[in-house]
């Protein structure tokens, strides 16, 4: 049985629907992420799971029990808030002890559990500090320890890394994974950063305008996006209007005046269907126009610009029909940071198995 079941949950504010008929399940021990742009309803959904808000329709079920009549303080669900919400009048140790005290644990147990939790998030020696004496990363750890110390069935994290700088963020991501594997608590994590979602999660639900667009494992989500929104939101993607010219072992697509390409076939697609062809920049090979490519799909173009990022260079290439495609070239050889200059004639090519046709 799934640990958490969200069944057809909707929440409306006036005539605005913030969460629209959302359903999903979270398994025990899973690191589940809700990913979506600002305002798509992530926090609203999380508040309903925590018990601060009730769905207008639908049910939230934990361990087979409908939570509708369980107030927030009685749900075995704890939250790590984006603002941390540490109690300013309590020390680190008192903050972490709070859920244990509320659960009526004996002093002895409180002491040992707090000590364990403090060690787990590497806050030794800071137990007697007050929150205003801590750095952002340290506050983050206290909030995590406080959320985990009473071993909730479910830990909700609402953009917990949002306030940290890039370096610390990366470090905390690694610690978060380690912590989650270590304690075995189920995480429901909210973020609007696709990179963070891909790096951390077992499964990701991509939300937009209150609905779930796609729910999958990170590699499936990145490799096989179901629609334009997901393809565009997760990672970078080249898009081109396309019409299906022929079906069969591979799809034949008509890319406007550019000509025909071969693309992976998809079930239920008929000739004449309109949509878009999407392909990731790293799947597009780039070479000098004079060089031949073995790939079935190839177009000549002119380098419009390039972005030297360090590990890779992204080339922005103008195609003959005026559309722009991006292609990635890894900078694996030292001293060969860039191959092409602006204005160079290049050949873009990709395999028949690369990319996808999307009609949604």
């Amino acid at each position: 049985m799934a640990l958490l079941e969200i069944k057809n949950v909707s929440r409306r504010f006036g005539d605005f629907t913030a969460v629209d008929d959302v359903s999903f399940t979270v398994e025990s021990g899973e690191f589940f992420t809700l990913l979506g742009p600002s305002g798509c309803g992530k926090t609203t959904l999380l508040r309903m799971i925590a018990g601060f808000d009730l769905p207008d329709s639908g049910a939230i079920v934990l361990d087979g029990v409908d939570l509708r009549d369980t107030p927030a303080e009685q749900r075995p669900i704890h939250t790590v808030f984006q603002s941390y919400a540490l109690f300013p009048h309590m020390t680190v140790a008192q903050n972490i002890a709070f859920p244990l005290r509320m659960a009526g644990k004996a002093d002895d147990e409180v002491r040992t559990r707090v000590r364990e939790a403090v060690a787990q998030v590497k806050l030794d020696k800071l137990e007697q500090r007050y929150p205003h004496e801590l750095s952002g990363g340290q506050k983050q750890r206290v909030a995590l320890a406080r959320g985990l110390v009473n071993r909730p069935r479910l830990l909700l994290l609402d953009e917990p890394l949002g306030a940290l700088d890039a370096k610390l963020r990366e470090q905390m991501q690694i610690e978060l994974i380690r912590l989650q594997r270590g304690v075995g608590v189920t995480f429901v994590f909210v973020t609007h950063s696709q990179a963070e979602a891909l790096a951390l999660s077992h499964r990701i639900a991509v939300m937009n305008h209150g609905v779930i667009e796609q729910m999958d494992e990170p590699d499936k989500l990145y490799g096989f996006p179901k629609n334009r929104f997901v393809a565009d939101f997760i990672g970078n993607v080249n898009m081109h209007e396309a019409t299906v010219a022929a079906t069969g072992g591979t799809l034949t697509l008509e890319l406007g005046t550019l000509g025909r390409i071969a693309a992976p076939s998809r079930e239920g697609v008929k000739a004449g269907t309109g949509g878009v062809f999407v392909i990731r920049p790293e799947q597009v090979s780039i070479r000098a126009a004079a060089e031949a490519s073995p790939d079935p799909n190839q177009f000549e173009g002119v380098v419009n610009d390039f972005l030297y990022i360090g590990d890779v260079t992204t080339y922005i290439v103008d195609l003959p029909d005026g559309k722009r495609f991006e292609a990635l070239l890894p900078n694996s050889a030292p001293g060969r940071a860039k191959f092409f200059e602006v204005g160079d004639h290049v050949r873009l090519s990709w395999k028949a198995e690369a990319g996808a046709f999307l009609d949604a």
Binding site: I77, S83, M102
Partner: protein, 284 residues
């Protein structure tokens, strides 16, 4: 280099004087000088028709010079200690009752939608728009029919009524600043309504409680109008004694001495409260 630092310190010192100078002058004029005048007055003899007898060269048969007689009287008779104790008792009772009554009101305002808060605060201070004595006399009309007038009870009712806004305002100012996310966090971590109040809201409001208490306690100590109007002869407080010394028996030195003793007692209590508040703030 050396000259540079010395000018910087000199100009720094000048800035410091400009900043702390005016408050210092203010304190001198409005606190230290009057206090000094009172100290001197309390060790002089009363004049024949009020005011003070001359320090030097009084006429024969008239007292002049310096005397500590007033302090002797004060410490020589239990009645003064009793009246002081009674006054502090009334002030303490008033403060506690105000606290208990003001807390829910302040909490209600602080948790109301922002657009209503100013209106509610305005309603709390609206009674100030009418004359203080009129409002106290109104209580005579209210309490009269119940045969409750001229009693300690009536005095405390009047005191609480007049001073309640002074407790509500600092409490509200404090409570309004609390981060609502803290209550969500407490509830999320298993705290019921009582624990959310007792473990989060209350400790964070201690500074507000201390300043509100000071704003009620200290004025109540010196209040003479309310005991005079609503209290019986038995309910005279220090304020009444002082007023009577100046306006009734016209013994200015004795009144000055009483005022000084009251100031000393209030300062002692304020110092204690400040110390407690500082500990509260340090924890908050």
């Amino acid at each position: 280099m050396h000259a540079d630092t010395s000018t910087r310190t000199r100009s720094g010192r000048l800035t410091q004087w400009l900043v702390s100078g005016p408050p210092f002058v203010f304190l001198c004029i409005f606190f230290l000088v009057p206090a000094a005048i009172m100290v001197v007055a309390s060790v002089r003899y009363p004049g024949e028709f009020g005011a003070l007898a001359p320090l030097f060269g009084g006429r024969p048969g008239e007292d002049s010079g310096i005397t500590f007689e007033n302090y002797g009287v004060f410490f020589g008779d239990w009645i003064y200690a009793q009246i002081f104790a009674k006054s502090f008792g009334v002030a303490l009772a008033t403060t506690l009752i105000c606290l208990v009554m003001a807390y829910p009101v302040a909490l209600l305002i602080a948790r109301s939608p922002r657009k209503y808060r100013d209106l509610m605060v305005l309603l709390c201070v609206l009674p100030f728009a009418s004359n203080f004595l009129v409002r106290v006399y109104a209580w005579m009309i209210i309490l009269g029919p119940f045969d409750l007038l001229f009693s300690r009870f009536a005095v405390i009712v009047g005191m609480v009524y007049v001073h309640l806004p002074f407790m509500i305002l600092p409490l509200y100012t404090n409570l309004e600043k609390h981060d609502p996310a803290l209550l969500d966090a407490a509830q999320d971590l298993g705290a019921n309504a009582w624990n959310r109040f007792w473990r989060v809201t209350f400790p964070l409001s201690l500074p507000g409680i201390f300043s509100g208490s000071a704003l009620v306690f200290i004025p109540v100590l010196g209040m003479f109008a309310i005991p005079e109007i609503l209290g019986g002869k038995d309910d005279w407080l220090v304020g009444n004694l002082i007023k009577e010394s100046f306006l009734g028996t016209r013994d200015w030195p004795f009144g000055s001495m009483l005022s000084l003793m009251l100031t000393a007692a209030v300062l002692a209590i304020a110092a204690g409260a400040a110390w407690l508040a500082k500990r509260g703030v340090a924890r908050a």
